[in-house]
């Protein structure tokens, strides 16, 4: 094995080990956020319907007190809001009660972070900004190095002059052909 190929393979191997975790993070999160139109990859939402007696309070304070009492909630809400005269929304940590005052119909929505996936998505979408931007840049550069060194790991019929050439060409043609199809069809 030549010295160049030896160092090529060492780089490929060691950088490969280093980026396993981040590749999994970006890969899993990539699939998750790719389907953002169909689901929320960061949060899950549970809905429950309750029925209480109609609320007759006149002032905002009376309406909130009466609603809390009927819902048997002792805790003070973080916030309350009335989008219109017949609706009251009570906000607790991760939980919203939307009360239709004339009927007493209540929609309870519970929002929860999707554990681990949320954190992966935050890193993938660079929510922390600052230092994470540079870490992500280094990761991207590492991926480029792993991709290029990967071309030259093997020689012979399974290397870049044989089987590797075909597979690499297919890998190039997939995005190019799709982009041309997207532009002209």
């Amino acid at each position: 094995m030549g010295i160049v190929r030896k160092w090529n393979n060492i780089l490929h191997r060691d950088i490969g080990y280093m980026i396993v975790a981040l590749t999994l993070v970006y890969g899993i999160s990539g699939i998750a956020v790719n389907h953002v139109q169909d689901w929320n990859p960061n949060f899950s939402k549970e809905q429950e319907f309750l029925a209480i007696q109609p609320i007759h309070g006149q002032t905002r304070e009376e309406i909130i007190r009466e609603s809390l009492s009927q819902l048997q909630i002792a805790e003070e809400p973080d916030n309350a809001f009335r989008p219109d005269s017949s609706t009251l929304e009570l906000f607790f940590d991760g939980k919203t009660y939307t009360i239709d005052l004339p009927t007493g119909n209540v929609l309870v929505e519970k929002i929860q972070q999707r554990r681990v996936l949320y954190e992966m998505n935050q890193l993938h979408l660079n929510a922390p900004k600052e230092w994470w931007t540079y870490i992500a840049d280094v990761y991207a550069l590492s991926l480029i190095i792993v991709a290029i060194t990967g071309l030259f790991v093997l020689k012979g019929k399974n290397g870049i002059t044989g089987r590797g050439a075909w597979l690499t060409t297919i890998g190039i043609l997939i995005p190019v052909c799709y982009w041309l199809y997207y532009l002209y069809f």
Binding site: Q37, N40, F43, D78, N79, F91, F92, D93
Partner: protein, 155 residues
């Protein structure tokens, strides 16, 4: 031994990151204004504020569920709220921000959309989401008052 140290490190990181979020979190640019403007004042006289930078505060009463690209902030007056719209991906407002309190800075935008523009937008939205759209429900121009969001602190 190595695994033990790694687990300890991960636990410390987890505790640190979760505690640091508890005090309130900043999104986007730093807030520059000191004085807040009442949302009711903006909604009462939108032309006066059009194009001006304002700092508002209030409860977050709704959040974009798909991309976190807007939130609605409740006004100091009943039945009123204002949309705080951010550029996709630049600021992502988390869905669990709903119900928390926000101090948010942005530029007031007052835009009147004609009937034909509304129909065009409605058709585009229906195509994207698969929802039904009835163009006959659009009968008059609509004025939308919102904030082009630059930065916010949510807690």
């Amino acid at each position: 031994m190595f695994i033990k140290h790694l687990l300890s490190l991960l636990i410390i990181l987890f505790i640190f990151t979760h505690n640091s979020f508890a005090a309130g979190k900043s999104y986007g640019k730093k807030i520059t204004l000191k004085k807040t403007t009442k949302i009711s004042h903006i909604l009462a006289e939108p032309k006066k504020f059009d194009g001006k930078k304002v700092l508002v505060e209030g409860p977050i009463v709704d959040v974009c569920e798909h991309r976190g690209c807007w939130m609605k902030i409740g006004s100091d007056k009943e039945f009123e709220s204002i949309k705080f719209k951010v550029d996709d991906g630049v600021i992502v407002i988390p869905m669990d921000a709903k119900g928390k309190s926000a101090r948010a800075e942005g530029i007031v935008s007052v835009k009147t959309t004609s009937v034909s523009e509304q129909i065009e937008q409605g058709k585009k939205h229906a195509k994207e989401t698969g929802e039904e759209f009835d163009a006959s429900t659009i009968t008059e121009p609509k004025t939308v008052i919102m904030l082009k969001g630059e930065g916010a602190v949510i807690k």
